[in-house]
């Protein structure tokens, strides 16, 4: 019984213990080397593509919003009826409401244009999608600044142009007075010359 079992194992060993063909180890080593190089190249390509994608995203985030074309503000959106063409770019010394505020982004090209040609008229006001450039009439700015300074000083004296039109009563009160009664003359219908005979 034991001898039979050993014979089985011996038979199996004779069947299994085959030698690989000549050059098997060298071929396997070459295959491993090729696979290693291919994986290294694949990894390099993957890293390069990921780096390029990240760089593209970063560049897009940094530069696209600034270089996007801004819509041109329609003229009808100016609330005071004063179009941007009418507003002088360089107001009088006290004319700008916020002289210390940084210029709006949309007015950068305007500034550049001013620097080049010294033009005083704004040809087209370009503003960003969410940045509305507030255009104030210099005369209003002068008055507003004066009112603000007087309010700080504790005494507001309205200038004649706003306060009193004729020196008697304030302009606001005068505007509230009842209008003069409208007199409608009697309507008479004269007959046409051709109708007199008939």
């Amino acid at each position: 019984m034991t001898r039979d079992r050993d014979d089985v194992l011996a038979e199996l060993a004779a069947l299994v213990n085959v030698e690989p063909r000549a050059g098997f180890t060298a071929r396997t080593r070459a295959a491993v080397t090729r696979d290693r190089e291919a994986r290294t190249a694949r990894r390099s390509r993957r890293v390069a593509s990921i780096t390029a994608a990240v760089a593209a995203v970063v560049l897009a985030v940094l530069y696209v919003p600034r270089s996007a074309p801004a819509p041109i503000e329609p003229a009808s959106s100016t609330p005071t009826g004063v179009t941007s063409r009418d507003v002088p770019l360089t107001p009088p010394s006290s004319g700008v409401a916020q002289p210390d505020a940084p210029p709006a982004r949309g007015s950068q090209d305007v500034d550049a244009r001013r620097g080049r040609g010294g033009a005083r008229q704004v040809a087209v006001t370009r503003v960003g999608p969410r940045e509305i450039e507030v255009v104030i009439d210099p005369r209003q700015a002068v008055l507003l600044r004066a009112v603000i300074e007087q309010a700080r000083a504790g005494e507001v004296v309205l200038p004649p142009s706003l306060g009193r039109a004729d020196g008697d009563e304030p302009l606001a009160i005068r505007e509230l007075q009842e209008p003069a009664p409208v007199v409608i003359s009697e309507i008479t219908i004269d007959p046409l010359p051709g109708e007199l005979g008939s």
Partner: protein, 179 residues
């Protein structure tokens, strides 16, 4: 700064080279074992060589993940065994598809094929194929290179007593099948 970067790169490259050298040594030591394990399943030299190469490729790709390098041979044997079984299943499907072509153009058998085709050998392989997987692997590994119980236990990562009992049962079943 550049010196540090150069040093790091050199360290990484030297580490990779060291790993490759170690793998190369282990591949030289285990080549025949892997080939024989594959052959014991496939019984075809060309397929066995292909499977052995594929096993080495997979082992090389995952070599850095192998924590216990002393378990390399056992790890490699398991990879090869599974690959060979998968390959055999695929070959069966392929053979069924190409059965007609193979019948028309059957290759001229050589001496090894004669041995395989011998009645005794064919019966022995059939009996081994009929064994459950755990018995089959034990008896094949025991037959390869005269591995003892301790060697097979180390290759399979199981206790020696388990190998002994499996080997005993495998022999008993083989005897019954060959009777």
């Amino acid at each position: 700064m550049n010196e540090r970067a150069d040093w790091s790169a050199a360290y990484l490259v030297s580490g990779a080279d060291e790993l490759d050298r170690e793998f190369d040594v282990r591949m030289s030591e285990s080549g025949t074992l892997v080939y024989r394990v594959a052959y014991s399943v496939l019984r075809n030299h060309s397929d066995a060589e292909d499977v052995a190469q594929e096993a080495f490729l997979r082992a090389h790709r995952r070599f850095t993940a192998l924590r216990d390098r002393d378990r390399f041979r056992a790890w490699l044997v398991r990879i090869t065994w599974r690959l060979a079984l998968d390959w055999k299943r695929g070959r069966r499907r392929r053979d069924r598809r190409e059965e007609v072509v193979a019948r028309l153009a059957r290759p001229v058998p050589n001496a090894e094929d004669d041995l395989l085709e011998s009645d005794r050998a064919r019966r022995l392989w059939a009996a081994i194929d009929a064994l459950p997987d755990k018995y089959r692997l034990v008896i094949v590994l025991g037959a390869i290179e005269g591995h003892g119980v301790g060697d097979v236990a180390a290759l399979l990562g199981v206790p020696a007593g388990t190998v002994k009992s499996r080997l005993f049962e495998a022999r008993r079943r083989l005897q019954e099948l060959l009777r």
